[in-house]
């Protein structure tokens, strides 16, 4: 089963890369952008076929390695 996870900086953490991307997009003429936040995407292919168990495992991975919970939030966005 493949689990997809997105990790983003928490709302109150400054995201200088997101800011620069925002400015660049503005400069390119893309109008009306409120904010850009940069994040990370992981697709984890596990042997576990039970969706709940697979997601629980990935959640544990996020807490222990993939995300740093001081500054980042994680969200499982898909299982297939």
């Amino acid at each position: 089963m493949k689990i997809s996870v997105v990790i983003t900086l928490k709302k109150d953490v400054l995201d200088p890369q997101g800011k620069v991307i925002h400015q660049t997009l503005d400069g390119m003429g893309f109008e009306g952008i409120n904010e850009v936040r940069q994040g990370k995407f992981f697709e984890i292919d596990t042997k576990e076929n039970d969706q709940k168990k697979a997601e629980a495992k990935v959640e544990d991975m996020c807490k222990k390695l993939l995300a740093n919970l001081v500054i980042e939030d994680f969200k499982i966005i898909g299982s297939q």
Partner: protein, 227 residues
């Protein structure tokens, strides 16, 4: 005094640290990250560099390497552990120190000499040090110290800030903050003050022919305090 310097894949200040420690009287051993046991040590140093190519987050992979279990046990038993630059990043990722080191505020790799002010001398690292303000070298991309409001309250309540970025007179202000660090933090201790993490490199300041001698003062004092 026995010391150990851990080499991770991508460490590049490990030999400089070895030279510095030996120069001031430590019997130093280099320890590979894949080893399980630490040699007998009075001080363990996690050196600077780019362990695991800074993949995922700086220090995150190294903090899970085999030797780190022994380093965690050593630190939890009161052993002295010092992390410099990437070593500091590894210490926060391992949970031995609170907070995290973010990308520098202005997205630049900073490589220059800075002044840092010792904030707390009631510990083995800075006790009886002749100096309050040191000129050290920094070279990092992720040195912007950050932590939650709750954590910074606790850090201040327990006097855990080791070093502030300052000017040469020890004045801590925004102009002397090179990377956007919270409260100008350049280094912190754990609660017990046996674990120290700092971004500046004292090992690069041990010879007047190279850069300066403020690191010599730091290491001379350190070995005396550990005796």
């Amino acid at each position: 005094m026995h010391s150990s310097v851990i080499t991770f894949p991508g460490s590049n200040c490990d030999r400089d640290m070895d030279v510095a420690l030996k120069k001031f009287g430590f019997k130093n051993k280099m320890v590979w990250h894949d080893d399980v046991e630490l040699p007998k040590s009075d001080l363990v140093v996690l050196p600077g560099g780019f362990s695991y190519g800074d993949y995922l987050r700086c220090g995150s992979m190294a903090s899970k390497s085999k030797i780190m279990k022994s380093v965690l046990n050593f630190a939890q038993g009161g052993g002295k552990v010092m992390g410099i630059c990437n070593g500091f990043q590894i210490l926060v990722e391992s949970g031995l120190l609170p907070g995290v080191l973010l990308r520098n505020k202005y997205l630049e790799f900073i490589c220059k000499n800075v002044f840092v002010k010792a904030n707390n001398k009631d510990n083995s690292y800075f006790k009886d040090d002749k100096k309050d303000v040191y000129e050290f070298h920094i070279a990092h991309n992720e040195g912007n110290y950050f932590c939650s409001n709750e954590q910074i309250r606790e850090i201040n309540d327990n006097s855990q800030i080791a070093l502030f970025y300052s000017d040469e007179n020890g004045i801590v202000n925004e102009q002397s903050n090179p990377n956007g660090s919270l409260q100008n933090i350049a280094g912190i201790f754990n609660k017990q003050k046996n674990v120290l993490g700092m971004m500046p490199h004292p090992e690069r300041m041990i010879d007047p022919a190279l850069s300066g001698e403020d690191g010599s003062i730091f290491f001379e004092n350190l070995i005396n305090n550990l005796k």
